[in-house]
């Protein structure tokens, strides 16, 4: 069975990635592993889902008829955590949401997406939310 790992955050980027992952899973009759990770080094991280958001996600995905597994984790690098889950479930595809950024902006800000693109052993699909 095809396994699709999606890097998810409770915002528009996460939603776009997740929607595409579900679509791909339907197409290939596969399953989806949702990864939500944080560095956990700040008091507040809005990209880390709380229990309510995870419950809402599970309820939303329950109706899709696709096997979904939600994982939350904490570690030094968010990209590495997505990659380690991908390795663990031997993913066939990783879907991530991408921000629009200029080359200079990219230079200044570290990027989870870049880490995943460079480190992944499987195909990576990067999607952008509808503008």
């Amino acid at each position: 069975m095809t396994t699709i790992v999606v890097g998810w955050t409770p915002d528009e980027y996460g939603e776009a990635a997740l929607a595409r992952a579900i679509e791909e899973a339907r197409l290939r009759e596969g399953r989806v592993v949702v990864v939500n990770a944080t560095r956990g080094d700040a008091l507040v991280d809005e990209r880390y889902a709380d229990d309510e958001q995870v419950a809402a996600l599970a309820a939303e995905l329950g109706g899709s008829g696709i096997e979904v597994d939600v994982r939350r984790s904490m570690g030094a690098d968010v990209g590495d955590q997505v990659l380690s889950v991908a390795g663990e479930v031997s993913a066939d595809l990783i879907v991530i949401g991408l921000r629009r950024r200029s080359p200079v902006g990219k230079l200044l800000m570290g990027s989870v997406a870049q880490r995943i693109l460079l480190g992944a052993d499987c195909a990576v699909l990067a999607v952008k939310p509808p503008a």
Binding site: G40, D41, V44, D45, E46, M74
Partner: protein, 514 residues
């Protein structure tokens, strides 16, 4: 109204553009450190001490006053939006405040906290204006034995009444007193606890102790617990209140002020007790009114009262600080160290020796309070964003200033070693739950206390009974005895309050000293 004229002169001196700028910096910095749990105004002032030695005392203290009040305000923001009280005095605010925020009334909770703080802080500071000179007038006449007794009272109260555990409090106090002893005996020139180290014989600088315990200790502690599940901050717009909220808030504000100020003004103050009492009173009153009792679901009275009590107590602590030279909070202890750094002798003589400093300070407290209100009401959403700062970056900055400050006081590399030792001590204290305040109080008050003791002994020719030769001293020792015995008796007779306190302590994730 002599005091009022002096206060007006103070306003005249404080209202220069330069001083206003320092007040604004202080208020900003104070709110910044108050919002972030783990770092507070005491740490901020300790870090700034070496920087401010280049300034005149007046602008430095204007800034410190802003930091003190700003820290208080910032703490309430965090408690309300995140339910992590930044300091023990905000625990009560967090109870109802966070429930209000969850019910979508964060803007009103922040508004009642800010306006209540302003009102309580203003009334409290005005009361300081009237009480402190009177108290100082009496205090200049009291002798060394009574003075010594007052310091004993202050230490015993801070150590036993405020903390959860007596044992931990006294361990911390004696650690502080021991650190305060290190160095040359001022009377005989003998070196004590210096282990034949000429650098230690110079006495350990208070700045190094304060920065080590507060900043380095906290940084090491955070480094040991770097990754923790992040929380979600409740989104909030600009704070505001409707007419009904005003109507429900003003009573608790005034009652909270009435609770807070006396507790702060006692040479054994603290704001845990008055905020707790204010909360209980408002809850009881709401219950008596019956009907729409919102307590437990986010009652605005439960935010307004404790928050006012908190700030009134903070204002009240200036009475013993200015009139007696007795600090009762970590922040005022560090301010006392700052006074000493300028070579100003804290004590009853302060009001007559340094009238300009005192009155400008009091005026700038009122100004800072006003600045807090006008700056922070619109800026609340921005303060909430501060909570996203990653800890490594934040503490790297703090460590930089800590090392710079410890080195800059004496330009002595040995101080950096001492800083590390103090930092490790601070880490161990956090690990074993020892409160920091008694230690700082011991370090700062210890030498002053010894001085008074020596003075009393010198006058009496070494007769120990001289210590209780003054009626005032005897009265104070009786109070100390009551303060020590009463809780024991109460606990035995009625274990209920302890259980309530334990409940509250459970909701405090981490206690931060003010």
């Amino acid at each position: 109204m002599d005091s009022l004229n002096l206060l007006l002169d103070g306003f005249g001196a404080a209202l220069t553009p330069e001083n206003l700028l320092y007040a604004a910096i202080g208020v900003f910095l104070g709110t910044f450190v108050g919002v972030l749990p783990g770092i507070g105004p005491a740490m901020a002032i300790a870090l700034l001490l070496p920087v401010t030695y280049g300034l005149d005392p007046v602008p430095a203290f204007i800034m410190f006053a802003g930091i003190y009040y700003g820290g208080m305000y910032g703490g309430s923001t965090t408690s309300i939006l995140l339910n992590t009280p930044g300091e023990s005095a905000s625990v009560m605010t967090a109870l109802e405040g966070n429930r209000m925020a969850k019910a979508g009334r964060a803007a009103q909770a922040l508004a009642t906290a800010a306006i209540g703080s302003f009102i309580a802080g203003t009334i409290g500071t005005l009361l300081v204006v009237f009480f402190a000179p009177a108290l100082a007038g009496v205090a200049v006449k009291i002798g060394a034995p009574s003075y010594f007794a007052l310091m004993v009272l202050s230490m015993v109260m801070v150590t036993s009444v405020l903390g959860g555990s007596w044992m931990r409090g006294f361990i911390s106090l004696f650690l502080g007193l021991t650190i305060g002893l290190v160095g040359l005996d001022l009377n005989t020139g003998q070196s004590r606890l210096s282990f034949d180290q000429p650098l230690l014989a110079d006495r350990i600088d208070v700045v190094v102790v304060a920065v080590g315990i507060f900043a380095l200790g906290e940084a090491l502690w955070v480094a040991a617990h770097l990754r923790r599940s992040p929380l979600h901050v409740i989104p909030v717009g600009r704070p505001w209140m409707g007419r009904a909220d005003w109507k429900r808030s003003w009573g608790p504000w005034l009652r909270g002020t009435a609770y807070g100020f006396p507790f702060g003004a006692l040479p054994a103050g603290g704001s845990e007790l008055p905020t707790f009492l204010s909360y209980l009173t408002e809850k009881k009153l709401a219950g008596r009114r019956g009907g729409d009792d919102e307590f437990g679901r986010g009652a605005i009275e439960g935010v307004a009262g404790p928050e006012a009590a908190n700030n009134a107590a903070a204002a009240g602590t200036f009475v013993p600080l200015l009139a007696l030279g007795l600090p009762v909070t970590a922040t005022s202890a560090v301010m006392l160290a700052a006074l000493q750094g300028y070579g100003i002798q804290p004590g009853p003589g302060l009001m007559t020796d340094q009238p300009e400093l005192v009155w400008v300070l009091l005026a700038s407290l009122l100004i800072g309070n006003f600045l807090l209100l006008v700056l922070n009401l619109p800026l609340a959403p921005m303060w909430a964003k501060l909570l996203r700062i990653p800890r490594p970056q934040l503490y790297a900055g703090i460590l930089f200033f800590a090392a710079l400050g410890a080195y800059a006081t004496n330009i002595q590399a040995f101080d950096l070693f001492l800083l590390l030792v103090m930092g490790l001590l601070g880490l161990m204290m956090r690990r074993f739950g020892l409160p920091v305040l008694p230690l700082i109080l011991g370090v700062i008050l210890g030498p002053l206390m010894e001085f008074r003791l020596r003075e009393a002994m010198a006058i009496s020719g070494g007769e120990v009974s001289a210590l209780w030769s003054e009626p005032l001293a005897v009265v104070i020792y009786v109070i100390v005895a009551i303060a020590v015995i009463a809780p024991l008796v109460v606990r035995r007779v009625r274990p209920a309050p302890a259980a309530v306190a334990a409940d509250i302590e459970e909701s405090t994730e981490e206690e931060k000293v003010r």
